[in-house]
Symmetry: C2
Subunit: 192 residues, 2 copies
């Protein structure tokens, strides 16, 4: 009886360990993937380091059809590494959070403030990808996403980002760091 | 000779301890004051939790004369306490960072992105103040500041903030938390 109890206890512990190992952690600061290679939505990015925000930023001369803020976050460990080297370590994730913008509300009468979450985009630097960088779009609630086609984001980041694939030209606290450490592509400020 | 060396070593250690005790820490997550009761500029706020941003927010119908982003940060420990109780612990600091906004630059053709630091405002909840909350304005570089007169900020926060003296109506991730925990003043959304 005692032996049987011991056996089943061990089996139960093994099951928990296996379940734990199989479930990717959505609160990780490094990219987690499902079995079919989709990126798991990072749920804890609001605890990361904030890089900057934009309102209605657009790389096309055509304005969008609604007002939208974008907030960019990066994990603390990747940020600390960037401060030292001006480069992003492998497994860095960036989250760009999209939020609706409102203008009149409560005592605010001018300008814009942030309201509902519209979705997040995630940029990943991971040596496992042939092109090193990959891009994923999440709506309000989907828990995993497959990488976007290369033409959608990768090429623009390759051509126009000031440091590796990151738009440091729009991150005011990191821009002087990258310039000082010699990793800033000045040409990114004056695109052809 | 040995006794004398020992004596002076102890004296030296005492000096270092006294200097350490006298110098307020600008990287603290709680308010630090100079001897004449000025608030020491918090230098590490970009490592805190980001609450939200606005562009050109104004409580007057008159628009400002330049484009400005405002980014709000709060220390991790105060944020965690708010998630549990919907209230801010004593010694909470809020930093509102003011940054210039640019529109055309690099590949951006629409909307606005953030550039140079213009200054920071700091709101402090501290039982040492008769009115519990105090407000301080820092320019680009000054290291300490005295509290603003009560009429400048305190009264507006008292009258219009949704949770205690904080404008949670403009912080989209905290608004549902405060509503759930019963600390949200709904009337703040419809000012008289």
């Amino acid at each position: 009886m005692k032996q049987s109890l011991f056996f089943w206890s061990i089996m139960l512990i093994c099951c928990f360990v296996l379940i734990g190992a199989a479930a990717p952690d959505s609160n990780s600061d490094t990219p987690q993937y499902t079995k079919d290679n989709q990126l798991v939505r990072p749920d804890n990015y609001r605890n990361w380091i904030y890089l900057s925000s934009g309102l209605n930023m657009n790389y096309s001369p055509m304005a969008g059809d609604h007002d939208m803020f974008t907030n960019v976050f990066v994990p603390q460990s990747a940020y600390q590494e960037f401060l030292k080297s001006g480069k992003w370590p492998d497994k860095t994730m960036f989250v760009v959070e999209e939020r609706s913008a409102a203008s009149k509300g409560s005592i605010n009468k001018q300008g814009h403030f942030q309201t509902d979450l519209m979705g997040i985009g995630v940029e990943v630097k991971d040596a496992k990808f042939p092109d090193k960088w990959a891009y994923f779009a999440f709506g309000e609630s989907n828990k995993s996403a497959e990488a976007n086609p290369k033409a959608a984001c990768w090429q623009c980041h390759e051509d126009h980002a000031a440091v590796e694939h990151s738009f440091v030209q729009f991150y005011p606290t990191l821009k002087p760091v990258a310039k000082k450490l010699g990793t800033y592509k000045q040409a990114a400020e004056n695109p052809q």
